[in-house]
């Protein structure tokens, strides 16, 4: 194994001992959580959860799921996939439901859409993922949560293209970095908001890491999350950190619909717990 393959431990940047205290001054110091999302409920913002589906009638979701699609691998179809409507989505594992529950708890009036890109057939994982993201970009989604990634190099360029497309269409993409010793896309691209886990519990407390590619740390350790069959489990993973940031981005988006992805990232940075806003 070459050194190149040894990935740094992404979440270590968010451990207490490693956290860097940063500061912001000048006009950007005026940005505050109160300004950014105070009073917002995410009302009317369409959020796509690109994942294993969402159990739409899970009690944790209070009927916030408005529909969705299932991207299935299909060898006969153009580009080996087809997109089926999924008006009352279900979840093949529980993972997407967990992410949806976290987003809904933070942004209770946002409208959630399930983009299921996982299924029994694993041959088409990469193309299903890319097609699901493409669907979200082209179908009016305003924020996209991707607690998924691929390490398949074949999808590097395609995903890069899609991610740039989302960026130019003002759709913030929130991506969980994968905690495995391999690169994972699209979490490592600069135009996404990449998230790893920290040990805190407060859903609104997150940190900025000045040493990219992973820029934000949000709660993801021993989080009580919704799961399939109307159940809950306590789980750990960067997968659960990303939807915390997705929830906050949704609140910002609802309150300040004019902001672009790079402006939203700036707001997130200025409002991070380890960034001291100095009044000047």
């Amino acid at each position: 194994m070459s050194d190149e393959q040894l990935r740094p431990a992404w979440s270590q940047a968010f451990m207490d001992v490693a956290l860097l205290s940063l500061s912001v001054s000048g006009p950007l110091a005026q940005l505050s959580p109160e300004w950014a999302w105070g009073g917002s409920t995410g009302k009317g913002v369409r959020v796509a959860v690109v994942d294993s589906g969402i159990e739409h009638d899970h009690p944790a979701l209070d009927s916030c799921v408005r529909g969705g699609v299932a991207v299935e691998y299909d060898e006969q179809a153009y580009m080996s996939h087809r997109i089926d409507p999924d008006p009352e989505p279900q979840d093949v594992s529980g993972h997407g439901t967990a992410c949806a529950g976290i987003i809904h708890a933070i942004a209770p009036e946002a409208e959630l859409y399930s983009v299921r890109v996982l299924g029994r057939d694993m041959r088409g994982r990469g193309i299903q993922f890319a097609a699901g993201l493409d669907w979200a970009i082209d179908n009016g989604m305003q924020v996209v949560n991707m607690s998924l990634s691929t390490s398949n190099q074949d999808y590097f360029a395609l995903l890069h293209d899609l991610v740039d497309n989302a960026y130019f269409k003002n759709i913030p993409l929130v991506s969980a970095v994968n905690n495995i010793p391999a690169p994972s896309f699209p979490s490592l691209y600069s135009s996404v908001i990449s998230v790893a886990a920290h040990a805190g519990k407060d859903p609104f407390t997150y940190y900025y890491n000045p040493n990219p590619p992973v820029e934000f740390g949000a709660p993801g350790i021993d989080v009580r999350v919704a799961w399939n069959n109307k159940q809950y489990i306590t789980s750990t993973g960067n997968s659960f950190a990303a939807p915390h940031i997705t929830g906050i981005v949704t609140l910002i988006r609802a309150k300040h619909p004019e902001l672009t992805p790079f402006q939203i990232k700036t707001v997130l940075w200025a409002c991070a717990e380890n960034v001291q806003r100095m009044r000047v």
Partner: protein
């Protein structure tokens, strides 16, 4: 003796050679399919044992994906109920291991006993009820080939992110061990394939017995046949003139450079 041999009918020589070859190839096949996986199982077993010890885990296991059956088959395990776990198959899309196999993302779950479904599934199949689970994918060439799990961190309620990152490295070792044993499997197949082609080629002496012997042990779908096709191409190229060879080399060099640059770009930026 020499006299006798040279007077022998060429086809008799051929049949003796074929017989020897068949024995040889069969033993290579046997070592590929039986001996090496056994030694790689021992390696996998030692990896899960080491992982369990380092994480302070009550149990650990490795399950591999069977694409045809759509299952996760437990290959090695340590801890209580380990003999029941080995040989067990679960649907590839069920439970924590199924989730990891499906997504390629690691996950940790604590307070497992509070979740009726996982607890029941697990208890039913193994008679062992874990409190916490940490599961990570085994990746081979960026494809999920299996799942490694450690259960019940001793003296802690749950596995943390550092445990998750560390288990990823153990899983990488396990995946390498599996890769190596699969490559040995392919070595036998490649040899048979190569010999068949040789016997089949338009040589001065026909080797019908050899061909027949090889036919008997023929591999249906030699894996890595694209590599063999590449070797064939090299052979053809080597027979060309020196100018053609140089031109081919240039093309290949550019392609190799492109390939490594692609890998570098896609991994770039975080070389620290």
């Amino acid at each position: 003796m020499t006299e006798e041999l040279s007077n022998q009918n060429p086809s008799t020589q051929d049949s003796q050679l074929a017989e020897q070859l068949e024995r040889l190839v069969r033993s290579i096949q046997a070592s590929g399919h039986a001996v090496l996986p056994r030694s790689s199982d021992a390696l996998l077993q030692s990896i899960v044992a080491a992982a369990a010890r380092i994480f302070g885990a009550g149990a650990a296991s490795i399950a591999l994906i069977d694409e045809k059956k759509g299952t996760l088959d437990f290959k090695v395990a340590v801890g209580p109920g380990n003999t029941d776990v080995v040989g067990m198959s679960i649907p590839r899309d069920k439970g924590i291991a199924g989730y990891v196999a499906m997504t390629g993302q690691p996950i940790a779950v604590s307070n497992v006993e509070q979740d009726a479904r996982f607890a029941q599934d697990f208890a039913r199949s193994t008679g062992y009820m874990p409190r916490s689970i940490l599961a990570t994918p085994l990746l081979s060439n960026e494809r999920v080939i299996g799942v490694m799990e450690v259960l019940d961190k001793i003296q802690a309620a749950s596995f943390g992110l550092q445990d998750m990152e560390l288990l990823g490295m153990f899983a990488h070792q396990a995946a390498l061990a599996i890769d190596i044993s699969q490559q040995f499997d392919r070595l036998g197949e490649a040899l048979i394939y190569g010999l068949t082609r040789l016997a089949d080629a338009e040589t001065a002496v026909a080797m019908p017995d050899l061909l027949a012997a090889l036919e008997k042990i023929k591999v249906e779908d030699p894996q890595g046949s694209d590599l063999l096709a590449l070797a064939d191409l090299f052979n053809q190229i080597s027979q060309l003139g020196s100018a053609e060879r140089r031109a081919c080399l240039k093309v290949l060099a550019v392609f190799a450079e492109y390939g490594s640059a692609k890998a570098k770009f896609s991994r770039g930026g975080f070389g620290r």
